[in-house]
Each structure stands twice: as C-alpha cells, then as structure tokens.
Amino acid sequence: MNNIRNFCIIAHVDHGKSTLADRLLHLTGTVPERDTTEQILDSMDLEREKGVTIKASAVRMNYTAADGQTYELNLIDTPGHVDFGYEVSRALAACEGAILVVDATQGIEAQTLANLYQALEADLTIVPVINKIDLVTARPDEVAEDIASLLGVPPESILRVSAKTGENVAAVLEAVVARVPPPKGDAEAPLRALVFDSHYDSYKGVVAYVRVVEGRLAAADDIRMMSTGAAVKPIEVGIFAPMMKPVAALSAGEVGYIATGLKSVRDARVGDTITSAARPAAAPLPGYRHPKPMVFAGIYPAEADDYQDLREALEKLQLNDASLYFEPETSQALGYGFRAGFLGLFHMEIIQERIEREYDLDVVFTAPTVAYEVLLRDGTTRIVDTPADLPDEGEIEEIREPWMTIEIITPTEFYGPIMELATKRRGIFKGPQYPAPHRVQLNFEIPLSEIIVDFFDELKSRTRGYASLDYQFLEYRPDKLQKLEILVNGEPVDALAAIVHTKDAYHKGQRMITKLKELIPRQLFEVAIQASSGGRVISRANVKPLRKDVLAKCYGGDITRKKKLLEKQKRGKKRMKMVGNVEIPQDAFMAVLKLEEE
C-alpha cells in the first residue's frame, strides 16, 4: 500500500488538464506515444468510433521513480463542468492528492478555486503546477506568486511545465510520489468501496469505478450496494490500464472497477458504498447524496414520428448519466415529448448536444425553468417545474424559488459590469475577496432562474471572456412571482408560459411579443399574439395575413426546380407546430432564450 498514489488533476477548462494527463500516460509507458492531440481522458469520440467503452476516468500507471522503487499511480479524472460539483467531490474523496494545474497565461479562475477548495476540504495534498510555460504570453512568476499566497507554500516549490512540449513533466510524477501520501485503510476490515464514477457497457452492464477504502474485493465475492441494499454478483473486477483489465482482487487503497451486470447506472450511483454481502460493513462511507435536478425543460421531437427515437436516445443517455431525469409530457402546442431535469444549464446543453449529434435527432427544447415550491391557500405545497402548471393566482399563498450562491472571478477592471449584471438579475452582493493581485472574486446570492438563461454568455461578453463562474444551491426563498402567458389567436400556448418576477413581467412580455412577431410567419389570416400576466393583457401584436406567395414564372418548362421549392416549403410547413389553426415555427419555442438585453 505504501507504493500506491491516488491523485486527480484539478484545472479550469482549457488549462491543459487533458494534455498533461496524456503526457503522464506516455511517460509511464501506459499508453504508447503517438499523436499527442488525441487526448485519452476526453475520449467520447474515440469510444463511439471503436464501439467499446474505454472511458478512462481512473487509469492505473506503473512508474519507476528516481528512488528506484516502482509505484502504482492511479490518476482519477474529475468532470470539468460546474454542474457536476457533487461528482467532483466524490472523485476527490477517492484520492489523497491533487495536481492543481494553472495556465501560466490565464492565472487562477473561479472553477480552479472552487475545485481547489473542495480538494482542501477533502484533505488532499496539493501539487501545484504551472502549465503552458512555452507560450510567449506566459507569466509564470506572477502566477507562481498568486498560487503561493493562495496555498501558503514557497513559490519555488511550484512546478513549471509545458504539457504540450513535455518540458519538466517528469518532475510532476516525482512530486506526486514524494508529496502525495500513500492511502491508509485496513485491508482486513469489512469491505467499503466508494463508487466515484460509472459507465454502462452493453456486455458487462454498469461498470462502477471504485476506490477500495477498507477491506478486499475479490472477483468471486457477492457484493451489496449500501444505499439500496441491492445484492450484486459481479461479472468482473479489474483495473483501467487504460483499457479494462480483469484482476483477481482489489485491496484497500486501490482503485479499479467492478462490472456489476446492473442494467442502469441509477442502480450504482456515484457516491454509493459497495460492501461485501457475506461480511457487510456496519455503515456506508460518508457523503452519499442523491443528485437532484435543478433545471427543467421540455424536449420534443421536431417531427412527431421521432418520438420513439427520442425516448430511446434519452434512455441510452440515462444509462450513463444517473443525474439525467425525464418523464413523458404532453404539450398542446408541441405534442408528445418529455419533461427532463438537469443538474444545471451546462448539463442541459451537453444533453441537447448529444441528442442532436450522437442520435442525429432534431429536437425542440423549451425554455429552461427551475422547480418552484408553491404554497397553496389550503396549506399544501406543490412543486411546479412546468410554468403552465402553475395553479391560479387565487389559490396561491406564496411562491418560493431556488437561490444559489455564485462566485465570479474576474480581473478587477470588470468589477462594475459584473455588479450591474448580477444586481439587474436580482443578485444580492455578499462582498468581494481578493484571491490574487488584479483578481477579484465577487460573491452573490441570486435566484437560479436568473442565471439559467444566457447569464453565462452575458458574463463572458461583458468581461471579454475573462470572468469565470461557479455556483452552488443555497435555499428556497419566497418572492413576488407570477405566470406570464402567451396567447396566439386567443389560445394560451403552454410551451411558451414562464414564471417571472412581478417587476419583470411587463418587459419580458413585451420582448417576447416583439420576438414572436418576427418569428411567426404570415398566415392566410391575421394572427394576434398577446402576452398576459396577472390576469391582464400586457402586450399585443398582430401578424398581418399573407398576401403574396407564388412563383411568378415557370421558366422554360423547368417544373422540377419549381417543385423542389414547393417541396422545401412543404417540409418547412410540416415542421411547424400547430396552436389552434396557427402554424408556429420551432424557433419560437426557444424565443425566450434569445431575448436580447435592451
């Protein structure tokens, strides 16, 4: 056990985590040197191409150090997106050390800090590394000063490397061996293994990535999931080298996998503890949490015929993503689809992209919303994550919405624009911190609903891309909230309903109407669009009837070309959604996402 080192790499997106990981794999001979741009830890595309899963989020490397001894180094990957804070915390819990990678040109950013604080909370030994020293814009001395003051370590102890060129990367391995402590844990105690990640394999079922904290896990042993009590007969126990490689057993301190044969990753959730069925542990490892969706949206097939394909795509995505939640939903405007819950906006974007790219489905996502707690006059509380389902105003005592704490790290010059952005969105300023010279961390409390629609884009544009953001759930708070409805020729469009703050109802309604007037094409009759809130119409516009839609000429007998145009027009019409007898293009359902700030 003394020769085992379990560590992860924490870094802001683009600071070079994957490139560094690749270098380490090459240096240790775990993966033969080849095209260094092919990053092993981000291997989604690769997986698909090969049709097998080689998701290498826990690779074992054997390394012979300068002291002549051979070490077992387990590199554990952490998800890069802020929505996956909980998953990150479980990955950290499987380690004793963390390499903190900071870009020599960018310096410390919000996500780096958030992960670093988590790593420190998890009692990990930090090995700070400044990357990208080969770039001409690198300012390693400055960044070293910042890190030194942050961690309270001498600046000289901070390694300076270029993962791209390979410069000084060997020193990183030596530092891991020298500074990261070996794991502790009683190999004779009853088995307790932490699940820190998982994937679904069509042959082996759910493959749980585990860190054995105590005890020993042999391939033949029956095991039990401690959160559900489910008994499992493992198909295989092994390590990632980096491909899955069966071993006879995993002992305390070791990292590897258990192929469980389970059919869904929900049955082997991240954070759960696996124990032995024959000699179960008394208590699970601390910190298990059931992931809770925070952001909700309707997902509908662009063409009704694709409903079954969409269901299958979501089911397949869920096999590998325990935090994706969905259930069937029917919208009068959009037809049959699903209500889906996500950990956050980034998570939603990832799912949207995967549905479109990997499953080649054309889908309509409705505007994202949060889950509101609605206290009714009769004393009951209801959770509303579909705005159209909000009960009548008369029945409502109080509406509560989720609030978040957010930390924004930015060069000090953008202090003002960020304050303006956050306070405009009901953010409450909790004060600044100065993690490094010329950098300020602005802390706010802000309703989640205010940051799920283009907050991040807006933040990036106001700070020329320099600001970074991290957020966590805080609590539910009551506020003056009301339903904003859009009516088309008098009929409310369920998929366009929103829950908004009273003070924003008028403006949002107006902007929605302006946008919809642009997006709804002229029809054979006049179309009235209205925004209504609090029982009255707050904005209206008319789309004039279509007067001219005909090809003037059918030239030289070229009927084929004319037909192609008509066929295209017909396809476009078919993709429209009907509300009453009004055709509404799918873009319109995303309109609320595209309301520009005046």
Binding site: K548, G556, E567, K570
Partner: protein, 390 residues
C-alpha cells in the same frame, strides 16, 4: 398528341442584375458552334422519337435569342422542319430584347416563319432599367414595337416586372400605361423574385438593396389586373394576360402538363413519362452534342438529368401546373379522361381543405366542372400547389 419545342439560346450581352437563368455574357464567339450543336441534338432526339412528331409550337427563349442572326435561325428552323412535322398554323415565338433588333432583322425573322415576338421590356422607367442592369432604354422599346409591326408581326408580348425594390405604385402604373399604349396582344407581368444566385440576391443579403415589400407588390398586381381587364385583356394564367385568341399556346403546353422537347444548354424536356434536363454550360453542351450516341427518347447526348414520372406524380404535376391557369383551371372531365379516375377520388382531402380555406373554387362550364384558384388566391398559389407535392 401535338408536341412543343423549346430552344434555349443562352447568350447575353450582359447579365441582368436580377437574373439567375442559365445565361452567359461574352461567349458570343461560340454562337456558330452552338447552332451546330443544336442541329445535332435536334437530329439525335428526333431520330430516337417514336415516329415523326407533330409540332404545334416552337419557342426560342434565353438568354437573348435575338443575338443570333437570321441565318442562324434559318439553319435551326431547317433542321426542325426536316425532322418534325410542323403544323402550318404553328406558333413560332422569339424572345427578344429591345435594342438587339432592327427592322431588317425582324423582316428576315418574319420571313423565316416567326409569328410571335416577346420583348423583355421590364420597365419604362430609365432608373428602374438601370437598377435591373438592362441594356436597353425606353426609346428602344418604341422602335422595337414599331419595327415588329412593320415587319408583319401581329402577335406581340411585352414582359414587365413589378415589385422592384423601392418601386412606387405610381411608377408601376406609369410603366403599365406605357405598355398598354403599344397595344400588345399579350402581356406578362412578373413579380420580381430575389434569387440568391443573382446580384440582387447578394445585394439584398448584404443590405445594399432593400427587399421589395410583398404587400405593395400584391397591391400592384391587383391594380394591374383591374386595369388590364378594363383594357380588354383577359387573365388566363397567374402572370399572363392576352386579348381573346392570343394566349401563348407554347406556355399553355407547360401548364396543361403536355409534352415538350427542350434543346440547348440547360434546356428541359418532358416526354415519354420522363423529365430530362441538359448540361448547363455552353461548352460542355457543345462537346456532348458531338457524341454520336443514340439514346432512348427523349434523352439526348446533352442530357444530364432524367426523372421518370410515375402516374401519381403526373397527376400531382397536372394539378400543380393546371391550377396556374386562372380561367381554365383543371377540368374534372379532362382529368378523368387522362387518368381514368376522378380528380376528387385522388385529391379529395386536399381539394376539400383548399375549398374550405377559400383558395380553390369549382366553376361550372357547360357539362364540365372546373377546379381553379379563387381570385384572391392567385397571389397565394404556392399555398395551394404545395398540397400537390410530396
């Protein structure tokens, strides 16, 4: 079954700013070879035809057919006469640009058998002609019409374009009045279509030119229709008006979905349950026509596309083209005679829906029933036609 022949003459002195037809400027040196290629193609197609075909209309379109000399036309017409049975009363049309004709050339053309001229006038406003990048001025039209009459042409058409960017209703009315003052037998009024492949398309995309206002264009169309009616013209197609007896028989062939052969670069043909199209570029057309290959009718060595038309598609296309005919429409009796099935049995649901939307109407014509666009639907044709495509 009478056939129609279309001959494409793709040469132009200059390309107009709104035009995305298959035309080329500055390639006039190829005209002699092109005329030769046309002769070869005519011969190749006619030889493969099931017997000697009877022809009742011939149309030279472009491009600018009037760039060819009367001698060129003579060669082409001789080829046509030796391979087809051209009816004595056949309509033989020439598209011409004012400014490319002379009294002498028109006399020669008339002597060769041409009996209809269609002038691309477009506008009588000098500024609009400049905007369209036409090569003629309003005075050229005056000469072109006068000379045509003097040469003995008794069937003249003027093409006009409305709905230009920034065109006012008044300017359009002025153009229309000028056109009427020449007392043409036929008038085609085309709404400007912004084609992405033409300079107008690029200019509007880049914001250099405003897009025409569709409501104003609709108003222009409605007012023009009224004015032409008062002046004794009958509308017979969405964009076409004629004095009684002067409907363009060649274009009627397309709209009645009857067979025609297309010769020349990029020309389209429809015969033998097949739609075919030729190579677009002049040089490749000329090269292809040198091939001695004998292909099944109506293909020619220049054909690059062919599509076999199923009975179902033929029925759809008959609706799509026939409903462009605003008076004649689609005759229930003719449809049943042609396809052996009632139009209401094939397209019952579509027709019901369109009747309900007020876009189509039934008209009683002696013992026949005719399905046609309602007057207000004439500018909404696409909303009707798209029910007859898949």
């Amino acid at each position: 079954m009478n056939y129609s022949l279309y001959l494409h003459i793709p040469f132009c002195v200059r390309r107009c700013a709104y035009c995305d037809f298959n035309t080329y400027a500055g390639q006039e040196a190829l005209i002699p070879d092109y005329v030769e290629a046309l002769r070869r193609e005519i011969e190749a197609v006619a030889r493969a035809a099931p017997g000697r075909l009877t022809v009742h209309t011939i149309f030279f379109g472009g491009g600018t057919p009037s760039l060819l000399s009367p001698r060129h036309f003579e060669r082409i017409l001789t080829a046509l006469q030796s391979h087809f049975s051209i009816l004595p009363e056949a309509e033989i049309s020439l598209e011409a640009n004012p400014g490319t004709v002379t009294l002498a050339s028109l006399r020669d053309l008339r002597a060769l058998g041409f009996n209809r001229i269609s002038y691309g006038v477009q506008s009588f406003h000098p500024e609009e002609l400049r905007q369209l990048e036409r090569i003629h001025n309003p005075l050229d039209v005056f000469d072109a019409v006068r000379w045509a009459r003097r040469a003995g042409f008794e069937n003249l058409n003027l093409d006009l374009i409305y709905g230009l960017p920034e065109q006012s209703l008044d300017r359009w009315t002025a153009t229309l009045r000028w056109a009427l003052s020449f007392a043409p037998e036929h008038l085609s009024l085309y709404a400007l279509t912004i084609e992405s492949g033409a300079p107008f398309g690029r200019w509007t995309a880049r914001g250099l030119l405003p897009l025409p206002d569709p409501d104003l264009a609709a108003e222009m169309y409605t007012q023009a229709g009224e004015r032409l009616g008062v002046n004794g013209y009958e509308q017979y197609e969405i964009s076409n008006w004629a004095r009684p007896g002067f409907q363009c028989r060649h274009n009627l062939q397309y709209w009645r979905n009857r067979p025609y052969l297309g010769f020349g670069a990029g020309a389209h043909g429809y015969a033998g349950k097949m739609r075919v199209a030729n190579a677009l570029r002049i040089r490749s057309y000329i090269e292809r026509c040198k091939s001695p290959a004998s292909l099944p009718f109506p293909l020619s060595p220049a054909s690059v596309h062919k599509r076999v038309i199923s009975r179902r598609v033929e029925m759809q296309e008959t609706m799509m083209t026939g409903l462009r005919l605003t008076r004649e429409g689609v005759s229930a009796r003719e449809f049943a005679r042609r396809f052996g099935v009632q139009v209401t049995d094939v397209f019952g649901a579509e027709i019901e829906k369109l009747l309900g939307l007020g876009l189509l109407e039934w008209a009683q014509e002696k013992d026949d029933r005719i399905l046609r666009l309602t007057p207000s639907a004439r500018l909404l044709g696409n909303q009707v036609f798209l029910h007859f495509v898949d």
